[in-house]
Symmetry: C2
Subunit: 303 residues, 2 copies
């Protein structure tokens, strides 16, 4: 079993986690959380999104959050954008990295936008140009490449077409986002192996939700295929957009605990991550689907 | 990634799950559950244990349960025993398969029994003789071979000594039981690979608890090492003996869902398993740490 010596864990809780909450979290709470995340050793933090405040009120304060966080050298502070307006807001408040998204479900995309996913991506050209000409980095996400609730499995060639469309508009960092929680390890292994081989110029990020309990097994399979970048969320905050009440993203502290116990380094301080998750539970006002918060580290011995 | 074409899932909920509940479940409820389990296609069901009713009141009715269940041809109905008295009770009520257990923690065993784990196993000789001479099958379990809350990691040679002790008393089926939920996939892969190579005559069973969220990843790693027998519990019922409030065994319906989505066959009807877990939740009177119960199967499409 070949695992990498080290991986990069990208904390997406401030965006993908908090946007799923009913309660809008105050700016200062978000700023404190993000400062604690950078202090704990994270190299990548997804701070928020620049999207319609009507559609996602929890993310309306992202501009203000960006202006208040302590920027730590070497940390990538990332934001989600949906269109040109989002890129403009990112530039305005000093955000240096934006991420676009398209759904891999052809059926869903055609029904909603009357375009295939690849056609949607080709429309991102002006977002990419604006970002790059202002010194921002830009990446692309593909949601549901491992399966969607409209098609179950998605043909791998459909996903490849989207990757090619991203490359065509100048994007070389691609996140595979299993937002519907339908990926299984064998599939993750084979898809990632094939993608890495066919698109060696792409930096791959895997973003799993633990909707059906196999998020950590999927990360294991992703590492075996050679992927070394993974999104996680504090306390597992988040949800499945298509299944009300289902669990959310893979849990940062559970993933980091698993990695460290296997000797895979992250440069992140697990104890600090655990205390952040405890804080998040207080802020959102409910328990979180985190195993390590309940059980503690396996190195906590009985004396 | 080499996975087996089919695996055997052993349902331990009636024993390892229910024994962890405060509420004692009526015999008729247990009998109905076990009959539903055999009807859903399980080939192995751990019905209960023949241990002190004072120590484990939830299992006091195991003799009666055995006398009332509908025996389905080809299904192994297994029980946990601690000593000769347990084997006698098994013989008396028609149980055909018993399982012994020892802790891999030398520290714990020495403190409690003033014997090493291997010495404990050598004392099982009369249990084995009594079982075999009465036509019962007998297996041995090793709890915490992947780590214990007294030592953290357990030296692999200590575990091998226990396996040799089991072989010495005539036991060739060995279950590795991560009751403390400390195993991680890389370790599972390497230990199982080594054990299979060194003891090819042993039938291995992996018994994981999902205490720290990596139970399904451990099953994946076990399959990659060549193990094809796994214990699971309906709804994930159970617990960690050393961490109050921590989650229990790996979840039958989550494991079976993962396996079937990867094309690994089990001969078990997942829909029936889901309805059993729903029933268990009603019987025990609380929610269960099952992902599939919350999210449903990933083949449930939006129309």
């Amino acid at each position: 079993m070949n695992l990498p010596k080290e991986v990069v864990i990208c904390e997406v809780g401030p965006r993908d986690g908090l946007q799923n909450e009913d309660k809008v979290i105050p700016v200062d709470e978000k700023v404190q959380l993000i400062n604690k995340l950078s202090d704990s050793g994270y190299q990548v933090i997804e701070v928020g999104s620049f999207v319609s405040p009507k559609a996602v009120p929890q993310m309306a304060s992202t501009d203000e959050v960006f202006s208040k966080i302590q920027i730590k050298q070497g940390v990538e502070y990332r934001a989600f954008v949906a269109n040109l307006k989002g890129v403009e807001r990112a530039i305005e408040c000093g955000c240096k990295k934006v991420k676009l998204n398209v759904s891999a479900s052809k059926k869903h995309n055609l029904a909603n936008l009357n375009m295939t996913p690849s056609e949607s991506v080709s429309k991102f050209k002006d977002c990419v140009d604006l970002a790059l000409s202002n010194g921002l980095e830009i990446s692309g996400s593909i949601s549901m490449p491992f399966g969607s609730p409209w098609e179950h499995k998605i043909p791998i060639n459909d996903v490849k077409d989207i990757v090619k469309a991203y490359l065509n508009v100048g994007i070389k960092e691609v996140s595979l986002s299993d937002a519907s929680g339908m990926a299984v390890p064998l599939q993750v292994y084979y898809m990632c192996t094939e993608f890495i081989k066919e698109f060696p110029q792409v930096k791959w990020i895997l973003h799993f939700h633990n909707t059906r309990g196999v998020g950590n097994a999927n990360i294991l399979a992703g590492m075996q295929a050679g992927v070394t970048w993974f999104d996680t969320s504090f306390g597992g905050l988040g949800g499945c957009p298509f299944v009300p009440g289902a669990e959310g993203n893979v849990v940062s502290e559970d993933v980091i605990h698993m990695l460290h116990e296997m000797g895979v380094e992250t440069a992140i301080d697990l104890d600090k991550v655990i205390s952040i998750a405890e804080r998040v539970s207080l802020i959102v006002g409910h328990s979180l689907p985190s195993y390590i918060l309940k059980a503690g580290k396996s190195s906590n011995l009985i004396r």
